[in-house]
Structure formats: structure tokens, C-alpha cells
């Protein structure tokens, strides 16, 4: 039964979750009784650390943003595999070392590929064109 966590061991977690719920509930409930409604010029404005919000919610991001985000997720995930191997480095032995070498080699090859096709280039096509005129 060592695989299963005993319920008695879970009490701190359950207690903590309950405390979180109580605190948040209190934070939401108390202003309801203490505050009184007042409508002024900036009441409806979102509050973010005192900075005045600017512009629309629907910001159009350049498409370059998405590939970079996806590459980050992919390579981040690969890092987890390498981490798992590093923890069991001695147990995996030379075979594990060779396999990881192949794995990292393939990753490097794909990074070279991404770099060469310009997927890591943050500029838009127009900016790239302008830069090539400047050179």
C-alpha cells in the first residue's frame, strides 16, 4: 500500500485548501458590507497598480509571436526529458548517455533548421525588407 497516500497524511493539504477558500470568501464578502456604491468618472476603469489603461482589449499580435511561443513550449518540454535523464544519470549508464546524445543532437539539428529558415527572426516581413535596404 506504499503507493497510496494515506488520508491522514492529506489533512494539512485539506486544511490549507479550506483556509484559502475562507480567506478568499472573506475578501469578496467583506467589501460588500463595508463599501457603499458611488459612481464617479473612473469607477468603471480597470485598476492595475495605479497605471492608467490605454487602448483596446483586442490587441493584434504579430504572427511571429506564436511560433516563438510554440518553440519555447517544445524546447521546454524537451528539457524535462533531459532533466529526467540527468536524475538517473548513473543508472542509465553509457547506453543512456548515447541515447541522450542522439536526442540532443536531433534537437540541435532542429534548432539549426529553425534558425536557418528564419523562424527565430522576430521581425515582420516588411521590417526585414526595410532592414535589407538599410544594409
Amino acid at each position: 500500500m506504499s503507493d497510496f497516500v494515506q488520508v491522514s497524511q492529506l489533512w494539512p493539504l485539506i486544511g490549507y485548501s479550506a483556509a484559502v477558500l475562507v480567506v478568499i470568501g472573506a475578501m469578496l464578502a467583506i467589501p460588500r458590507f463595508l463599501s457603499h456604491e458611488r459612481h464617479a468618472r473612473y469607477t468603471e476603469e480597470p485598476f492595475e497598480s495605479g497605471v492608467v489603461p490605454v487602448g483596446d482589449v483586442r490587441v493584434r499580435l504579430a504572427v511571429q509571436y506564436y511560433p516563438v511561443a510554440i518553440f519555447f513550449v517544445i524546447f521546454d518540454l524537451e528539457a524535462i526529458f533531459i532533466f529526467a535523464w540527468a536524475v538517473a544519470f548513473r543508472e542509465a549508464g553509457w547506453l543512456g548517455y548515447l541515447e541522450m546524445l542522439a536526442f540532443i543532437g536531433i534537437l540541435l539539428a532542429s534548432l539549426v533548421y529553425l534558425w536557418r529558415i528564419g523562424a527565430l527572426d522576430w521581425r515582420t516581413r516588411r521590417q526585414r525588407l526595410q532592414d535589407s535596404f538599410l544594409d
Binding site: 547506453l95 536531433i106 539539428a109 532542429s110 539549426v112 533548421y113 534558425w115 536557418r116 529558415i117
Partner: protein
Amino acid sequence: MISAVDLIALLPLLILTGTAILAMLAIAIRRNHRLVFLLTVAGLLGALALVPMAANMTPRTVTPLLLVDRYALVFTALALAAGLVVVCLCRSYFGVRADQPEEVYLLILTALLGAGVLAAGRHFASFFLGLETLSVSLFALIAYPYRDERALEAGIKYLVLSGAASGFLVFGMALVYADTGTLEFSALISASSTLTIIIGTILIVAAVSFKLSLVPFHLWTADVYQGAPAPVTAFLATVSKGAVFVLLLRYAVAGGLGQAPALVNVLSLLAALSMLAGNLLALRQDNLKRLLAYSSIAHMGYLLIVLVAGSKVSGSFAAEALLFYLAAYFVTTLAAFGTITVLSPSDREAESLDDYAGLFHSHPWPATVLASALLSLAGIPLTAGFVGKFYLFAAGGLGELWTLLALLVVGSGLGLYYYVRVIFQMAKPSLDIAGKPTAPAPLEAHLVLVVLLVLLFGLGVYPGGVIDLLTMAALR
């Protein structure tokens, strides 16, 4: 520990991986369509040449995930050959249409790798890995001409639905694992079939039915077939479906799927619905690609007979029947989509039936190939499709599945109507309409069609050679 023998058994897959990486680096260094094409062809031929060498080491369990036996290797060889055909068709097709056609080959190589893993899979982990490697490559292949609205639509449709199917698959696997505590197929046969296992297995079957486009999981098929570029459709129709079917039979035989009557009933129902609905929906199609899509639904339904019978007849006969039918279906489907590819003008695809009016007079050679392919799909004697269908009858008869066999007869009768309708259309007197499809006559595409035509009649007239090869590929 992995020994040298294990590595030899895996060589075809390792060569594929190496070729994919080399192709990627070649693109990174300098974009050259011809170089990447030649590299891919060389890699595929190399992997194909190493299959007999790997066959000497079989059967061999390489890591807990893969079982390299003759069954897996025969299908791997079949998939590699189909990949070779598709690559040859892609060269002229994407060379004219795409700005950067090089990545097509990369994606085909990774898709073939997924198919090879599926064929050798003996574990749920390799099942999922292989399936995802294959599917993710296909998403990109289908939407490759991304400026074309329909290709993009087809790609996104396939992506979303395939993602949903994968969710079902993983959930089903989790249920089976929760009850048995193992992910190996062979360990399932001793497990008593509890409700959890049956629900889990039905979820897995539902996910697989999506990949095989069995009714009622078929709704994506026609749109994706129509939207995808013709060579990619050929790949999707053959390698992708074949690999999933090969894995399904191994899972069914090794995991004792036939023990639970509920599952056999589900599979029989899927087969019956697919045979009927596929053929009925194809009757009124005026678009050749959609027609072939519905016909593929029906053919996958026919093939399910082998799977249902697999619980009653010996696994080796079921494997032989499945592999022969797949070989015949691969040759036939590749010939059909190959003709569509060759006939398509550079700005669109020749998919409407009107494009084929009078083809026998204007382009007798592609018309002959297409007509032979359609006759083979209908199962006319002397073609590969006939021997394939003969195998289905033999398997169904041994398994005493009379209802399914009756439906097979009805389905084939319906099928004859719409296949022959296309042939009649081609035999019409030629009309001189401007913008008729003109073949740009790329040499390797025509060469591929010649080979396919020879194989199509070769398998039909003298199937003995291939059958001898397949009897050695018995599934344990």
C-alpha cells in the same frame, strides 16, 4: 539493454529517422528541391533494402514498446513503397504549386516513421506515439498549400477532430490501465473483461474508427480528401489507414479482443454501417475525390470483416488476409490518386467528373490507369482488388459471418454502379472544352503509374508470389 541485433531489427526505422534529420539539415543549409527529393528517395530505398536484413532477426522484442516481427516488417515495406510512390508524385505536384516544396518530404518521412512504429507496436505507449507522429505530420501535409482555403479548412478540420479522437484514445487507455495495471497488449488477454475494460476498449475502438473513417465517425473524410492536395490524399488513404488497421489487428489478436462479445458486436456494427453508408453516399457524388473518399469508408468497412473474423479464425490467416487486402488497396488507391495528380493542371485539381469526360480519347494512357484502378476497387477479376475481396470472403466464411458477407455483396453491387459511372464518363465522345486538364508529363510520375498498373494486374493474375511472402508474415 539494447543489443546490436535489436538495432539491426530496427534499422529500417532508424534509417528513416536519419534521412529525416539529414533532409532537415539539407534544407537548413541550402534550399534545393531536387537535392531533398533525391535524399528522400535514397533514404526510402535504403530503408526498404534493409527490411530483409531486419527480417532475419525476427521475431524480436526491442524494448518493451516494439515487437519487430515479419508482420510488422511486411507492412513497413508496404508503407515505404507507398511513400516512395507518393514522393514521386509530390515532386512535380508541389514543384509547380508551392513556393517552398522541400518540407513535404520531411513530413512524409516522419509520417512513415509513425506508421512503422504503429506496425511494430505492442504497447499502448508505442500505439499512441506512432499514431501521433503519423497524425501530426498529416496535419501539416494536408494544409501544406496554406494559401488555398479548402486545404486550410481540411487541415484544421482534421486537426480538431483528430485531437478529439486522441483524447478518447488516451482516456480509453487510462481506463484499461486502471483496471489491469499494464499497458502491454499481450497482458490484456489474461485480464478478465470487466466493465471498465470494455468501456475503455470501446473508447479506443471509437478513436481508431475515427482514424479509419468508419461510420459513424466518418464525417471528416470527404472534406479532408477533397481539400488535401491529391498526393497527400493518396498518402492519407493508404499509409495512415493501413498502419492503424495493422495495429488494430495486432491489438485484437494479442489482446484477445474476440473474447468479449460486446466488442465483437460493436465491430460488426461498425463494419455493417460503413459498408452500407459508404457505398450509398458515394452513389451521387460528382467529385472524384469525394467519391473515392466514400469508397474508402466502404473499403475500411469490408476490411473490418477480417478483424471480426480474427477472433474466430487463426491470427495468421487474418494477418495474411489483411496484408494482402492492404497491398491490393494501396496499389489501387495510389493508382487512382496518381492519375488525378498527373491530370491536374497547375492552377487547380482535376476532381470534378466533368474533367474526365472523354478522357479515353484525349488522354488514353492516364484514362487506362484510372479505369483499371476503378475496376480493381470494384473487385473485378484479373485485378488486385478481386483477390483481396476473395480473401475477405474466405475470412468471413471461416468466421461464419454470413450477415456481414451478405452486406459485402450488397456493398460491392452498389460500388460497381459508381465506379463504372466514372468509366462511362471517360468513354464519352471527347468534347473540346477550353481548359481541359493537360498532363504536364513529369517522367517519374508516369513511371510510377506504369509500375502501379503492372502491380495492379500482377497481383490479380498471379497473386501466388506475394501470398508466399505473406504466409511467412504470420502473426503469432
